[in-house]
Amino acid sequence: MSDLLKVENLSVRFEVKRGGGWNKKCYLYAVDDVSFTVKKGETLAIVGESGSGKTTAALAVARLVKAHSGTVALAGENILQKEAEDLRQTRQKVQFIFQDPYSSLNPRKRAEAIVREPLDSLSQKTEVEKAKIVDELFEAVGLRPEQQRLFPHQFSGGQRQRIGIARALATQPELIICDEPVSALDVAVQAQILNLLRKLQKNFGLTYLFISHDLGVVQHMSDSIAVMYMGRVVEHADRLSLFQTPRHPYTQALLSAVPTVDRAKRAQQKRILIPGDPPDPVNLPLGCRFANRCPVAEAICQTVEPELKSDANGHRTACHLV
């Protein structure tokens, strides 16, 4: 299938103030030269720890933060160049599901108005059409019609996330960015939302960019996975090869760190503990960003930054030792 989203050399930088004179400007590259593609109808998961740049990358794709350089092409069109009415049209095609269903819904609006809002601001539909769409959306996400009149505080966490999902679906987007959509929910409710997301994907042919730190959830939801560390993609592969043969030492450590209920797996798998903390994102080391914590780092890793290289099967890894 064709690529719906093609991100090339995307960088996002923030200006940070550091001591040492009034005019000393420093830049923090939250996303640094990142490229990936997502096929239509598939799910790309971006995993990484806090501060790895996964959310910033997603926000840049949705034009919610400004990209410093690079291109984001949606169905062949670079959306970073779009402005005004053109941008409004594009926003209908890219929608966002936020992490925290408690802070991402306006407490003073009724559920129906929340779900209708993207239609009000982005589309030119009549009131009757909008009401019909809202009815359909409530049904699609498993909420009852009479709940349209309620306010966010009258819903449980899982139901609120359903409202957030309905809102994201309102403009019939091609790409939905899910930023940690279940990490604020209780485990039993997580399963309900994950099943719903998969069902909607199947029914409406949606494409997901799925941001998560939970590798179990990622394994269940995604078709391919990009692992980010300190603003860079360090490994990118399809679901089976990433979990079966993780190559980057960081990915290996990440996978081994997940606690598991499987007693056999715990017995046979040795946990790779990576010591210390990530480096200062403003003063990045010269070589590989993971070198100071890497259990297998060699001399070259301290001086030369590895490139993201692809093998014959499209499994991309940024490591000198692979």
Binding site: D186, A188, A191, G216, F243, Q244, A257, T260, V261, D262
Partner: protein, 328 residues
Amino acid sequence: MSHLLEVKNLRIELTTRDGVAPVIDDLSFTLNPGETLSFVGESGCGKSMTALALMGLLPEKVGRVAAGNIIFNGEDLSQASDQRLRAIRGNDISMIFQEPMTSLNPVFTIGEQIAEVLRAHQGLSRRTAWAQAIELLDAVRIPNAKDRVSDYPFQMSGGQRQRAMIAMALACQPKILIADEPTTALDVTVQAQIFDLLTDLRNQTGAAIILITHDMGAVAEMAERMIVMYAGRKAELGPVDQIIEHPRHPYTKGLIECVPHIQSNPSIERHDLVEVPGIVPSLREFGKDQCLFASRCAYLTEACLTSRPDEKHFANGQSADCWHAEAI
């Protein structure tokens, strides 16, 4: 072996606008020296309330121990005076909280906060307490502890702050360490470091750990026994591996099955996750004479709605409060 802690028929009531709700309802369990016991359940099931009750930290005027005993080393903590509880807290029983940023005082250095515990409980001088704070930071593997001891919390990463919290909790060599979701705010690789540290420290000091979590994987890695809580009541209790292999309560079963567990060899086909429909009942429902899980349960029968299930016992101390436990 005598128990380090014995909780008998504990009932904790919270006064709410809708009346009095038993947020802990008839809970009994024991804790042995050097053991890790885990409390599991969704939010609002009474896990943290149990911890607060053990520490004598129930919200004033709102919460109270209505019945039952908390016997620690032969002493009933539910009857103890505030003064006595203050002497025990942080000394014999200490606690690590979920969010290391908000539970440290931002205007004092890490060293001052650790030294305060030692000075209050052990009457150490400023200088000795400070020296011990450095040793403790070293013990929780904060590199360069001698310099970091005069850092403020904001100068540390999340993982380091949680280590500092652990150092503080361990300062007086407590007999029980209560860890309330100690890694929920942390990344997985840091979580692995913290678990590793807790296990090592437990083996060195012989402290018993009460680990409160919602993550079945964490329970499996850390604990020997677990208690599954639902709506203020014990749903199931027993050895961790045995329960994971064969849960006897439908809620435990749901908790284990609803999570997409990571596999090293995933299948191409993916099935829908098992859902536990619905949500935890509201406080108003707590204390009813029926099974509180009934509305979400696949094994529902008439009996579940008319009386509270009895405790059914199985091998190795496993027990489940469900009318259908034998059939599951």
